[in-house]
């Protein structure tokens, strides 16, 4: 968002009442458009195949979105600061492995194990943030390094074997059981889905109502001006990346619960899906704007697409191609929308 003139640098437009143009550009409009895209997809697939529009399939989509959605929450904050985090996938795996170590190997109570796993993720995020703010290493490089470190540590700690939770069936119940199903018979939606929505609500509140959210936008909008205004940008940036690690940790616990095991070789590639969800949801890579709602919609668009294509027997490889194409299309549409 740079202006060509040599004088005032801040982007400006003439003071106009809410015309159709400003409305088109507003954040709310962007969210509505993304949501409409989702609805169109869902309707399209429902028409194309009867197998799509079953309750079980919808639940399947919800479940498939759970982990990616949680990961996307932290990444949303990071991208709003105009940073990036490539390590969320492997940090997720690392957290899953640590949860396995705590619960299965060390026989700690399940709640402690879960807390430990999430803390492990937060620690990795905190390290990312420190490296980026204090050592001034670009986020791309710093988190790329962490990606490999976390991946390596997962393999080392787990000794290359998956860690199973068979001794503690309550752990699997956490994500895959259905509290709602017990209250409303026939409505067997796994807890993981509600955990994701709950996390999203909390993330939304943090982003829109707290000082952390405020500074996230400020840093992304004009980091230098924020620093000159006396805000400790280094500290708050570190906090944002730590938050990213926190959600990666949460995702790790969720996926370990879903699979009833910690799979050390998993995770690589999850970060790209998380980033894609954030970007499709309308958060700009140049920073300063974005929303949790957008990210959740973005995550659903991706899993709906994948699911629908699979039901239509499109080979898996092509699904990935389509997802990549959608990301480019979404960002392009967003750039157009902004420029107009």
């Amino acid at each position: 968002m740079k202006s060509e003139t040599q004088t005032a640098k801040a982007v400006s437009h003439t003071d106009e009442p809410k015309t159709a143009r400003t409305l088109f550009r507003s954040d709310a409009m962007q969210r509505i458009m993304a949501f409409s895209a989702l609805i169109v997809l869902a309707i399209g697939f429902s028409i194309a195949s009867p197998y799509f529009r079953t309750f079980d399939n919808f639940v399947g989509i919800l479940l498939a979105t759970a982990v990616n959605g949680v990961l996307g929450l932290g990444v949303t904050f990071i991208i709003i600061t105009s940073g990036i985090d490539l390590s969320v996938g492997t940090v997720m795996t690392f957290s899953a492995v640590m949860t396995g170590v705590f619960i299965t190997n060390w026989h700690l109570p399940i709640p402690i194990g879960i807390l430990g796993g999430i803390l492990a993720g937060s620690l990795a995020g905190f390290i990312n943030g420190t490296v980026i703010s204090r050592m001034k290493i670009p986020p791309f490089i710093a988190t790329l390094g962490m990606l490999n470190i976390a991946r390596g540590l997962s393999l080392v700690i787990s000794d290359l074997h998956p860690i199973y939770f068979n001794d503690t069936p309550a752990f699997r119940e956490m994500a895959m059981g259905s509290v709602v199903g017990k209250i409303i018979p026939g409505f067997e939606v796994p807890n993981a889905v509600f955990i994701m929505f709950g996390a999203a609500i909390i993330a939304h509140l943090i982003l829109s109502r707290t000082i952390l959210g405020r500074y996230t936008f400020a840093i992304g909008s004009n980091e230098e001006a924020t620093r000159l205004s006396g805000v400790n940008v280094a500290a708050w940036k570190t906090a944002v990346y730590a938050l990213g690690g926190f959600f990666a940790g949460m995702g790790g616990v969720l996926i370990a619960s879903r699979l009833n095991s910690a799979q050390p070789a998993l995770g690589f590639g999850y970060e790209l899906d998380a980033i894609a969800a954030v970007v499709i949801g309308g958060t700009s890579l140049s920073g300063g704007e974005g929303s949790i709602l957008g990210t959740i919609i973005g995550a659903f668009i991706m899993s709906t697409l994948t699911n629908g294509l699979r039901i239509l027997s499109v080979p898996q490889e092509w699904q990935i191609v389509v997802t990549g194409g959608i990301v480019i299309l979404a960002v392009f549409l967003d750039i157009l929308r902004r420029r107009r």
């Binding site: 005032a8 801040a10 437009h13 109502r209 000082i211 405020r214 004009n222």
Partner: protein, 517 residues
Amino acid sequence: MIKVPPAPSSEKEYLLRMDGIYKSFPGVQALSDAKFELRYGEVHALVGENGAGKSTLMKILGGIYEKDNGQIILEGNEVEITSPGMAQHLGISIIHQELNLMPHLTVAQNIFIGREPRTRIPFVVDENTTNEKAMGLFELLNLRLDPTTKVADLTVAKQQMVEIAKALSFNAKILVMDEPTAALTDTEIEELFTVIRQLREKGVGIVHISHRLEELKQISDRVTVMRDGKYIDTLMTSEARIDHIISLMVGRTIYESVPELPENPDQEVSLEVRNLNRGKILRDVSFSLKKGEILGFAGLIGAGRTEVARVIFGADSHESGDIFIKGKQVHIKSPTDAVTHGIGYLSEDRKRYGLTLAMDVKENVAMAAMKKFLRWLGLVDFKKTNERGREMVEALNIKTPSLEQKVKFLSGGNQQKVVIGKWLTADTDILIFDEPTRGIDVGAKSEIYKLLNDLAHQGKSIIMISSELPEILRMSHRVLVMCEGRVTGILNAREATQESIMKFATMRSEAVLVTEQ
């Protein structure tokens, strides 16, 4: 929130006094024994040419630079200002030309960034109180602003108001405004002046840095002139004449001798530009350049001279206007086109745009004309590049240990010669020099001037953009003066004086400006 200061007593008559300020940067003495003094409830204009030291002095006041020597006395107490935070704390607020705002945040959020009112829930921001407090500030200034508007949706004029409101929220006693009217329409300027007058009534001291001398007459009480980093004089604005202010700004500088200009150039026109327009940056620019002529481009920073050069060179686009070379119309869409038509551009910042610092002398010399140095399959003919490099080093007297010396190790003057060598190798006839002697010592400067003269003798057509008026007067056949994107005057160099050039350089158009889409 604004504390009205007590009536001035004899000890605290001055709100601010800066005395004996010295500041140097590597290679340049930016300030020598600079002074400045500000009273309560005064609008004090600070004027001077580019590089006179006004910004440096104010940045020291604002805690952005540290002075080497001197005193700052604020309300009777000596202070050491070591950081921007401290300056703000002391009640000094600077509004820079590039506004320090976060465009995605709202007005109120911008004003209270770092000091957000909180609710009782930890970490949660109290948005309503933030907006209310902002409204309170606006009332003090009679501003009509919605605190919930995103800053990006405001005009530049309103954004400036936000900065002023922010300064007020810090109980600013001193407000420094750097070129505040540069981007405003006439109506907006009036609104700004109304606000400034209100602040003055409240006892705030305002430093108004501007090149627009007629405006200063309207708004300022006193005006201080600086030149070459030194304090020159302070005048009561009501008694000062603009001519007098200009002569103080420009002074009489002794200039070392330089080769005489060649005789009158041919009448053949090598470059003609008609009605060039580029948004608000260039407006209706027209001129012609003759063969063998040196046309000096004078004007203040931001006047649009570099922008004209970049458009002619194809580095930037233009909305309308025509360019003719040797009488034929050309369409230059990129620097590649420009070079093909024989135009070369020596940029202001030679380290960024003129040289590849990591490469050596001969590689840089050959850079703009690689076609000449290729063998089949795209292989580089090293024998030829060596030969050419040697030729240029000799012809231009480039001091370098070898052709293989990386140019980043050469002195400024020799680097500039390498750039000239590059354009000569590319067989360019029309050369645009942008600040050719910036950052070059006196000895090397004479050599560059001699080179320019030789090139003109050989029939090259030269545009020389410079902020040093003596240089322009010495080297040019004619002088073209720009102000805020317009050509305000084309003078014959023999008849021009520093004062007359300055007059054209500060001559804003009197017509009412309408906001353009």
